[in-house]
């Protein structure tokens, strides 16, 4: 190779390197956030290149809790997949249960009694509420306020007790069945739920005083990690992260399933798409969840809670179904392809945390390390959901 032969030299990359290094001190270093780090809530790993306190570039490294859910779905029966979907998103287990049931029922053409649909909606909304509550506490703990984290557990434990009463578990519920639910709700649950709604409305005022109005909290959240609307749409964000940018997109309104078309509720949206808006959207969503639960309890019809005719061992006709539902973190897509056997031929899940995380690298560039923590916390990431 002669000196003039530059075919093997990648000129462009050298040029790019120069551009990157311009305005950047030579002291920049790589910092490894995770996979074991108090702020990553699980086993997310983020490699950040830092220049002092500022992040130059960030790259999320995922897969530390990859458990092969899709492979398991394609090697076992439809009903056997129930435990998996509640472990995929452990904070929104009932919403996942609910969505999975609806998808398979659509594929196999199973009728669901009306009472069961109402029960599913009530339990899903309770789960959404408890998930948002935990997020509220965990986000504030990332910002250094420990006490709200303990306070939200009081409410979470009440919800856990309520749901424990009907579903028999505290966290990883497998409550829905094809054609209905596993167990009927009783008067004790309904009284408890009404009492909880009353209590929760009072507690919202307390949280507002303790958190929303706090000067330090506002300084840490306002204007931090603002996502422009166009970027959010390009990355296909969903859920509260998108709604904080001012896009009114909620599967419960746009493609209503269960009884969401019959109940009256609003979709809270923000304007700036920053961490504070994401906080406000989730905070207001909790109040909407209470409204939905209240209406469902008022209109709860009598009748069977499960379709007795539904087959226990499903073997749907060949075909495929695509179903989207709203989990606490955003839109979850399920794609199931059946080849007529009792085992799904292809099962694919697209989870909201996954899409939300993909914008993080872009969002972190040029931020302070403390803001990176604030942004990550405000996204409400569930790592097993990302890693499948």
């Amino acid at each position: 190779m002669s000196i003039t032969d530059t075919s093997n030299v990648n000129i462009r990359s050298i040029e790019t390197d120069r551009k990157i290094s311009r305005g950047l001190s030579e002291q920049s270093f790589w910092l490894n956030l995770g996979p074991q780090h108090p702020a990553t809530h699980g086993v997310l790993r983020i490699l950040v290149r830092m220049d002092g306190e500022r992040v130059v570039e960030a790259e999320p490294v995922i897969g530390y809790i990859h458990r092969g859910h899709e492979r398991m779905g394609e090697t076992r029966g439809y009903a056997q997949f129930f435990p998996n979907n509640s472990r995929m998103d452990y904070l929104g287990a009932l919403t996942y249960n609910h969505g999975y049931c609806e998808a398979v029922e659509k594929l196999a053409g199973i009728e669901v009694p009306r009472r069961a649909v109402f029960i599913r909606t009530i339990t899903s909304e309770f789960n959404r509420l408890s998930s948002h509550l935990l997020w509220l506490g965990a986000y504030l703990m990332d910002l250094g306020a420990f006490t709200p984290f303990i306070y939200i557990w009081e409410e979470r434990e009440l919800i856990n007790d309520l749901l424990n009463h009907v579903t028999g578990s505290r966290l990883t519920y497998s409550y829905n069945r094809f054609g209905g639910v596993h167990k009927d709700i009783d008067d004790q649950f309904i009284t408890g739920a009404r009492a909880f709604i009353k209590r929760m409305r009072k507690r919202f005022k307390m949280y507002n005083r303790l958190v929303t109005g706090n000067v330090i909290f506002q300084a840490r959240a306002k204007g931090v990690g603002a996502i422009p609307k166009q970027r959010a749409q390009a990355y296909g964000l969903t859920g509260p992260c998108l709604r904080a940018c001012g896009v009114e997109y909620d599967i419960r309104k746009k493609e209503p399933y269960a009884v969401y078309s019959e109940v009256d509720f609003d979709i809270p949206t923000g304007q700036n798409g920053d961490a504070f808006d994401r906080y406000m959207v989730r905070f207001l969503e909790m109040e909407q969840s209470l409204r939905i639960i209240e209406q469902c309890l008022n209109r709860l019809p009598n009748g069977p809670y499960i379709n007795d005719q539904a087959p226990r061992d499903l073997a749907p006709d060949p075909g495929e179904v695509f179903f989207a539902f709203e989990s606490p973190r955003g839109q979850v897509n399920i794609f199931i392809k059946s080849d007529g056997t009792r085992i799904p031929y292809r099962m694919h899940w697209k989870n909201p945390s996954y899409t939300n995380l993909s914008i993080l690298a872009e969002l972190m560039r040029g931020q302070f390390i403390a803001d990176v923590i604030s942004i990550m916390g405000s996204f409400d990431l569930i790592i097993p959901e990302i890693d499948k």
Partner: protein, 156 residues
């Protein structure tokens, strides 16, 4: 709900050989488009121009060949467009990660799980599995090598 005239207009604009409306209530999709070769990028560009966002990207292993399935949707209302692209003999499909940034990760995942190569992808590394993995677990011909998975982290 999107009107049927708008759907017709959209399917004309996509201009692929195989476009047909599907029953939304059964399959969850309004339009089903099968594209070949360059058609994928053309269709994706058309949809991007109309404000569609990428909702889902995955592949199905048909044993003989792999088929990549894209879903696009509108934020304004449900208008789901399914685009199917058959991978060629070398298991390759054009990338759309330059059009939709989200596709970057989803194509990496798809490549990792099903072995579909996305031509022109800027960063075709492993995403979820360890970086030195050499298998594609969602392929129908993948057999879990039992002995190879014995624990290897034992301390002496």
């Amino acid at each position: 709900m999107i009107s049927s005239s708008a759907l017709n207009e959209l399917s004309k604009a996509l201009g692929a050989a195989e476009v047909h409306a599907t029953d939304y209530n059964r399959t969850g999709s309004h339009l089903d488009v099968t594209v070949a070769g360059d058609g994928l990028r053309a269709a994706a560009q058309t949809l991007q121009g109309r404000g569609f966002f990428l909702e889902d990207l995955t592949a199905v292993d048909h044993r003989t060949h792999r088929e990549v399935v894209y879903r696009f949707n509108l934020y304004q209302g449900p208008c789901r467009v399914t685009i199917r692209a058959k991978a060629d003999e070398a298991d390759a499909v054009d990338t759309i990660s330059d059009l939709y940034p989200l596709a970057n990760w989803m194509e990496r995942e798809c490549h990792e799980f099903l072995g579909v190569t996305f031509t022109g992808h800027p960063d075709p590394r492993r995403l979820l599995l360890p970086e030195d993995s050499d298998f594609h677990p969602l392929r129908k011909d993948f057999v879990v090598p039992q002995e190879a998975l014995a624990p290897e982290y034992h301390q002496d």
